[in-house]
Subunit: 239 residues, 2 copies
């Protein structure tokens, strides 16, 4: 593998692409300066393991670009994804120094990291940062519970459609038809959905055959009618 420089120069916070969505969203200019001094950018290549389940994780931080996965495995090898990390998502617990899940780079990925002790001090000094962390944690909890519905009650077709809708909503670029690059292999999709690779593949083919999505190579997906795909995922239009 070609070696690359993985310690990128970090941009100033005010120029950061996740400035208004990440943990720092509610910080003023003064606090941003404090963050500048604390932060380190660090990148991993696709496929690299960032931490193993149970290992010491000496930092916490935000994902700036790319995609990482949170997974848990059983002794016999069965694996379930429990979180999909996209830009602005927060990783790690300020109050625990061991990772509860394995974190893997699903694509090349860059994090904005803080050493835990420093971050914990920041949280305790700055109530609105703690409240921001609380809000983000509660949103994650809601997302996890939403996913419990997917895992427990949806059919394979609905599961795949649900995942595609989620990814299109968060990362779609073009319009008519909207388009996104899947950050996951079929295997990673299967691990997320509690299915096998084969079932994911068959359902992707079926959704394409039924005109609900288009496929471009292995990773590109197109969707001319997101509402129809949402209906297929049995997602209520309400929220």
């Amino acid at each position: 593998m070609t070696r690359i420089d993985l310690s990128l120069a970090a941009p100033t916070c005010s120029a950061c692409p996740i400035r208004h969505r990440a943990i720092c969203a509610t910080c003023g200019d003064d606090e941003l300066l404090r963050l500048e001094r604390m932060k380190t950018y660090r990148s991993w290549r696709v496929g690299q393991t960032i931490v193993m389940e149970g290992d010491v994780l000496p930092f916490v931080g935000s994902i700036v670009s790319g995609c990482a996965t949170l997974t848990r495995s059983m002794e016999d090898g069965r694996t379930q994804m429990v979180g999909l990390l996209l830009p602005s998502d927060f990783v790690g617990r300020h109050d625990r120094d061991r990772a509860a899940y394995q974190i893997v780079a699903a694509t090349d990925v860059t994090f904005c990291l803080f050493r835990r002790a420093e971050f914990q001090q920041l949280v305790r000094d700055t109530p609105h940062v703690m409240e921001r962390l609380l809000k983000m944690s509660l949103d994650e909890l809601d997302a996890a519970r939403e996913w419990m519905m997917v895992l427990g009650r949806k059919t394979a077709r609905e599961k795949v459609a649900s995942l595609l809708v989620n990814i299109l909503r968060r990362t779609a670029t073009d319009v008519h038809p909207i388009r996104a690059e899947l950050p996951l292999t079929r295997e990673a999709m299967a691990i997320y959905l509690g299915l096998t690779i084969e079932t994911v593949s068959r359902q992707m083919t079926a959704l394409r055959r039924d005109g609900l999505i288009g496929l471009e190579g292995r990773r590109g997906i197109l969707c001319a009618d997101l509402a129809a795909l949402q209906a297929e995922a049995e997602i209520d239009a309400a929220p």
Copy 2:
């Protein structure tokens, strides 16, 4: 139905059974006095709906005794439990006034409630209460992710065993054999586990037949060897 008085006199916080495990665990005596003035006890009978999904929930609070369930339903009626509330668990979001899930009393249940606005002020005035809320939310998130593993990857037998282990761990009374009262009907168990009533019933029978548990009436469960039951649930002994 016999009418009962549902507005119980609340005990003083210092005599409260969940004093050291609930949101108030880190409060000193002075803050406990503030809580005394804010709190209201309120009870619901088994089967009553406490709030419907999407309804206004004007309070937040802790469950003091009994058991309640958090569920979400799809339009066609498929239902998934996303949380099981036992004494000391916290309910509601301080920053949102609508319930994201239906809350139902699984047994007769008593809550210690605070009006949202007052509680939100308390959280903002008292950093260590906010940190306590954050810690409890992160623990809930871990529990939800643990449950994603159960829903996505475990067999019916492992699912049922996992639920029994959870309940025995949190509510078991006797020892040799340990004993607990199931706070859930078979239907509620099925909704929690992403299974049908029939499958739950068959797996309960199978676990009894295999000598891993004993059954006393509809609700009583006995377990002479919790480690064996945990092995059946494929739970790593580690944590």
